[in-house]
């Protein structure tokens, strides 16, 4: 009984914080807003730790909180499923959220929307917790869209900035494209399983494994494949997989704390979580898994390439997030669900760290985000420097650090997978290792090492906006920078403390967790793998001989060599011989243009989908409604009525004999009919 109250407390505490900060944002002082929300999230974190221990002791839970709706034979409930997968996500979400809340005190210090911001991030935490704790598809969809809403609100947080309000709408709509597939998937689940409860659906899944449905023509489609692909389209939207990835880079218009929390550590991993949660369904469709592994591989590699040419510090991290989400998706496709969740967790720590580090750099640089204007920051911002280095090393998979264990497990799992597409995926994730190391250290070197390029007088856009005081409060991230001669400065403790606290798990969590989480019984009964059809994980565990052995062994392995060469090449290119990348850029200008334009996805979408929809709307409106329905039919029938009445008017001559004559004819006709009928 006690535990159930605690389960409720986890999402509700942040909700209460959000309501205090949100509903009264205009009357309460700042300290009330951040105290209330931080207290809410801290309570949620502590409660999550207690629940985690309880679950480890074997006490899982699955039950309803209240009945949302009943209709026909269906019962829709709001309820919780508490198991190791849920608690893992709860810990990650509440911990990162707590770090971000603290960090925000420093980052948003000067912003007039301070209280509103705290309200949003707490509301996000609530929504995300409802999503991961759900025991049914309906509530999952609730949380799914609710986090999308908060993401929308936060990307457009600086609502006067045209780029921000474009980006947030784009994010919402692209996510809605994913949700379109998702809701069809949920509809198929309800139609064929008769319930939206995970437990009921998963138990019934093997019975329906061979079911086919007729969707198009005479062909029989596997129910599982169609359902799983529809559900995965939802994940593609939320977890930004190609081609629905286009919203994530633009989401960097939002303040940096939410880039760390929402667009790196938690919300974007909801799709990964969802597929892992649905493993009993996805395991029944190799077709869907193949689709997933290919999409993931494309995202992992090609989004990584884009990271190489970015100059905005946040965008580099954003593309790296896209690429890492691709890695997680590849793991899902290889049926290595536990590895995907493991990478999700390690990534949440080191990517949140990298983002918050980038935010710290941005504060230090007075809101200049261009890495070409940085350099040599390690002298001025030592804590940010060290923690960012830790984050980067973890990201590229340095042996014994958290990212190493998760990423290497993914690569190994893909190597052992035999589903169609696994060969391509293996190539993509291997090549991705080099790319990741290259762009990560390109950024690291350009920011923290080398020549100090900041405070230059020729920083044109800085001057242009300096006198613009109206703008100063609301438009924050861009348009500023260091004045000539000004030096960057280390950020206050509320900013650096979260960096340090995130750096610790970024180093250690992989080493600690890999044994139990990936190769142990941690996810027993939660994640289901058909070892007969997809034996990759089983083979992988045969090779595993402990975390230390894995680290030592890797030092001679291909991924390590690739990562190391990525670092060395980027050092050589950007520290030693900066003329080389410039020459390459000139030499391969076609490829550079392709990358600059992000493979033309945005232009294509803008022209074909957005433009097409507007054009279609205009055609249907002007052509259909105005011309045909109103012009032809409505006004046309009015004209016909007018025409008929103009004719009948001819009969209304006013002469009695005309009327009498007409009457006689009428009576005659009627009588004839009457007689004939009889």
């Amino acid at each position: 009984m006690e535990m159930q109250k605690l389960y409720l407390l986890v999402p509700l505490a942040p909700l209460v914080g959000a309501m205090i900060a949100g509903l009264f944002c205009r009357v309460i002082p700042r300290w009330v807003a951040h105290t209330a929300t931080i207290a809410g999230v801290a309570i949620a974190f502590i409660a999550s730790v207690i629940i985690f221990k309880d679950v480890l002791a074997g006490h899982t839970y699955n039950g309803a909180v209240y009945t949302w709706l009943t209709s026909g034979d269906y019962n829709f409930e709001v309820g919780f499923q508490i198991d190791t997968l849920t608690t893992t996500m709860m810990l990650v979400v509440t911990f990162v959220s707590l770090m971000v809340h603290i960090y925000t005190i420093g980052y948003m210090q000067e912003d007039p929307g301070y209280n509103r911001f705290f309200s949003y991030i707490s509301l996000f935490t609530f929504s995300m917790l409802m999503l991961v704790m759900s025991n049914n598809f309906m509530q999952l969809f609730f949380g799914w869209e609710a986090v999308g809403l908060v993401s929308y609100l936060l990307i457009g947080f600086w609502y006067t900035r045209p780029t921000a309000i474009f980006a947030n709408m784009k994010a919402f709509l692209v996510n809605r494209v994913g949700d379109f597939g998702f809701i069809l998937g949920i509809g198929l689940v309800l139609a064929h399983f008769g319930s939206l409860d995970y437990q009921t659906v998963f138990e019934k899944a093997p019975e329906l494994a061979a079911t086919t449905i007729n969707i198009w023509g005479a062909a029989d489609w596997s129910l599982m494949s169609v359902t799983c692909i529809c559900l995965f389209i939802g994940a593609m939207g939320k977890s930004a997989q190609v081609p629905l990835h286009v919203w994530l880079p633009d989401s960097m218009e939002g303040p940096t704390p939410i880039s760390a929390l929402i667009h790196a550590a938690t919300m974007v991993t909801a799709g990964i979580f969802m597929v892992a949660r649905m493993s009993p369904l996805f395991e029944l469709s190799t077709t869907a898994l193949s689709f997933i592994i290919v999409i993931g591989a494309i995202t992992a590699l090609f989004m990584g390439f884009l990271g190489i040419i970015q100059n905005d510090i946040k965008r580099v991290v954003a593309y790296s997030t896209l690429s890492q989400l691709g890695y997680m998706t590849v793991a899902l496709g290889a049926s290595a669900y536990s590895v995907a969740i493991f990478h999700l967790m390690t990534h949440a720590f080191f990517k949140a760290l990298l983002f918050l580090g980038a935010g710290s750099v941005i504060i230090g640089m007075h809101h200049d985000q261009d890495i070409r204007n940085m350099g040599g920051l390690r002298k001025y911002m030592p804590i940010t420097w060290i923690t960012s280095l830790v984050g980067s090393l973890a990201l590229i998979g340095t042996p014994f650090m958290s990212g190493f264990y998760s990423k290497d497990s993914i690569i190994e799992a893909v190597a052992l997978s035999h589903i169609p597409g696994a060969g391509f995926a293996y190539f993509a994730v291997l090549a991705g290792v080099f790319v990741t190391a290259f762009y990560s250290f390109r950024m690291y070197f350009l920011v923290f090492h080398g020549e100090e390029r900041f405070g230059k007088a020729d920083d044109a856009h800085h001057h242009e906006h300096h006198g613009d005081h109206d703008d100063e409060e609301t438009s924050h991230d861009h348009h500023h920078g260091l004045a000539p001669g000004q030096k960057p400065h280390e950020t206050p403790w509320v900013v650096t403390l979260p960096l340090v606290l995130l750096a610790i798990p970024s180093v250690l969590i992989g080493f600690i967790a890999i044994g139990p989480m990936v190769f142990g019984d941690y996810f027993k009964g939660v994640i289901f793998i058909d070892h007969h059809a997809h034996p990759a994980m089983e083979h992988l565990s045969e090779h595993f001989h402990g975390a230390v052995a894995m680290g030592v062994h890797s030092l001679t392995s291909l991924p390590f060599i690739l990562a190391l060469s990525g670092v060395v090449v980027s050092w050589f290119f950007y520290m030693k011989r900066p003329d080389i990348p410039a020459a390459i850029q000139r030499r391969f200008s076609a490829i550079h243009t392709l990358l600059e334009n992000k493979y033309y996805f945005d232009k294509f979408n803008e022209a074909v989908f957005a433009g097409g929809a507007r054009l279609l709307g205009k055609v249907l409106w002007r052509g259909g409604d105005v011309a045909i329905i109103d012009g032809l039919i409505v006004n046309g029938s009015a004209k016909v009525v007018g025409w008929i009445s103009s004719i009948t008017r001819l009969f209304q001559t006013g002469y009695v004999y005309h009327y009498a004559f007409t009457m006689i004819i009428g009576v005659f006709v009627l009588m004839t009919l009457w007689i004939n009928r009889a």
Binding site: Y66, L69, S71, G72, P162, L173, F180, L190, A191
Partner: protein, 494 residues
């Protein structure tokens, strides 16, 4: 069951209040007229609450029945009653009347008594429609309710109001004539009964069923309005004053849909099955086609009017899939649309009162001067886009899920509203509310006052409450919807 004639009171209290308000005469008594109107509307709402609280959810039949002879010679009766399908609309209608009276409080300055009286009388007449169990009584209420709405648009409307009122009147009149003919046919062939419940039971051959179905379809499709007889609605909305738009969207559009479920389905079950594809097709066109049309509107009221048509597409879609989930989803959508569309039109009215323009291009950056308004407008826009935890989600979700079972491609087409609905709503919101202040009108805007805040706040609570806990709304429907669907499944051809 209550011994008071609650339904009669729900009908006649607002009408009586309307007549009292009318008697205050000219505008020098405007404050009195307002107070009396509010009192009448509140009394009318309070009297409907026992309908919900005293409703027996296990009973699928008619409740709170009142029966008395009206014109014995033609067997026409004053026969009232509500079931799980109609009860909520009586309550919703009475609730919306309060909103409407409050919405016009300071805004309507000419012919105040007449304005409020028109709404009160209309409210009573519409309750009559939902409560009538006699064909003639239904028809009288159905037609009479047109008159106040016609006057509201024609007298207090915008510059092009005469055209709009006329188009509205002609369109609906055309449908009404077919309805009357159908009722006469049913009277004659039922052996002289105007009882709707008798008609539910009478056998009819397939041929006449088809003809009657088409007549009903035209009559009710105009009111819903369904594609392609929808073009009067955007014009009517554009010209109507805010209160008129609210009633039009929240209640008047429900009358056509209610006609389908009270007449077409139970009286003509075989024709309903035969011709369901036609209605489903028209509904899906409404959802998809109208969605794209809404996207390119430049007038906010037109945009929301088109979005209303698209949302009502879900209602007719749900009715003709003949499953409890679909039908209840459609009914939920009807109630929700009352809150959400009503609120959207009120929001536009709030801006119109200040700037005197409905053009999207005349706005931009409203959030800077009206932050409280922007927050509430955001909530209703999201509800309009069907965001979970708002009422706008519940009905669409139920209908889409039911559609997947019915036919994957029907669900596919319906689910596009997730994208298109979000696109037109958020694009409008972005252009109107976000951004820098674009002109001096927007710069001079004052945020919502206490009255406006109260109206939007109450509607926000309704929207959120229904989104988070729709069970109280659906549990009253179950028995009646199940009875209806059992009935519709049985052929009437003998």
């Amino acid at each position: 069951m209550s011994t008071y004639p609650l339904l009669s009171l729900a009908i006649w209290i607002p009408i009586f209040a309307g007549l009292v308000v009318l008697s205050t005469g000219g505008d020098r008594n405007a404050p009195l007229a307002r107070m009396l109107s509010l009192a009448g509307a509140v009394a009318g709402f309070l009297i409907t609450i026992p309908l919900w609280t005293g409703f027996d959810v296990a009973n699928g039949g008619m409740q709170f029945v009142e029966l008395g002879a009206w014109i014995p010679r033609f067997n026409i009766n004053y026969h009232l009653g509500v079931d799980g399908i109609s009860m909520l609309f009586v309550v919703l209608n009475a609730f919306v009347t309060i909103i409407v009276v409050a919405a016009g409080w300071e805004v309507v300055k000419v012919k105040v008594a007449q304005y409020n009286a028109a709404f009160l009388i209309m409210s009573g007449l519409m309750n009559g429609i939902f409560a009538s169990l006699d064909g003639v009584l239904f028809y009288v209420f159905f037609e009479a309710s047109l008159i106040p709405l016609y006057l509201i648009i024609g007298v207090w409307g915008g510059p092009n109001r005469v055209y709009a009122a006329f188009k509205f009147f002609l369109y609906t009149l055309f449908g009404s004539l077919l309805l009357l003919l159908s009722l006469m046919y049913l009277f004659i062939n039922s052996g002289g009964s105007f009882s709707i419940l008798e008609w539910h039971k009478m056998p009819i051959a397939l041929g006449p069923q088809i003809w009657l179905f088409l007549a009903f379809l035209i009559a009710f499709a105009v009111k819903v309005p369904m594609w392609p007889v929808h073009t009067w609605l955007p014009d009517a909305h554009v010209e109507a004053p805010t209160g008129g738009s609210i009633v039009l969207a929240a209640i008047a559009l429900k009358l056509g849909a209610y006609g389908f479920i009270r007449f077409s389905l139970p009286i003509l079950p075989d024709a309903s099955h035969e011709l369901s594809a036609v209605v489903l097709g028209m509904s899906l066109i409404a959802v998809v086609y109208i969605g794209f049309v809404a996207l390119v509107q430049e007038d906010m009221k037109k945009l929301v009017a088109y979005s209303s048509i698209a949302h009502m597409g879900f209602v007719t879609l749900g009715f003709f899939m003949f499953s409890p989930l679909a039908v209840e989803g459609a009914l939920v959508q009807m109630v929700s649309h009352g809150f959400v569309a009503g609120a959207m039109f009120f929001c536009i009215g709030v801006m119109y009162d200040r700037v005197h323009s409905r053009q999207i291009a005349d706005y931009g950056g409203v959030v800077n001067t009206m932050p409280k308004f922007a927050a509430l407008f955001m909530l209703f826009s999201m509800a309009n886009a069907g965001l979970p935890a708002t009422s706008g989600f519940v009905g669409e979700f139920m209908v889409i899920l039911a559609a997947t079972k019915f036919n994957f491609w029907v669900a596919f087409a319906a689910a596009t509203s997730l994208i298109v609905g979000a696109a037109y709503t958020l694009w409008m919101y972005k252009r109107v509310v976000f951004g820098d202040v674009t002109n001096h009108h927007v710069a001079e805007l004052s945020d919502i006052n206490k009255r406006e805040f109260a109206i939007l706040g109450v509607l926000a609570l309704c929207t959120l409450g229904m989104g988070l806990y729709p069970q109280p709304f659906t549990e009253v429907m179950h028995a009646s919807v199940n009875d209806l669907l059992r009935h519709v499944a049985i052929s009437k051809i003998q």
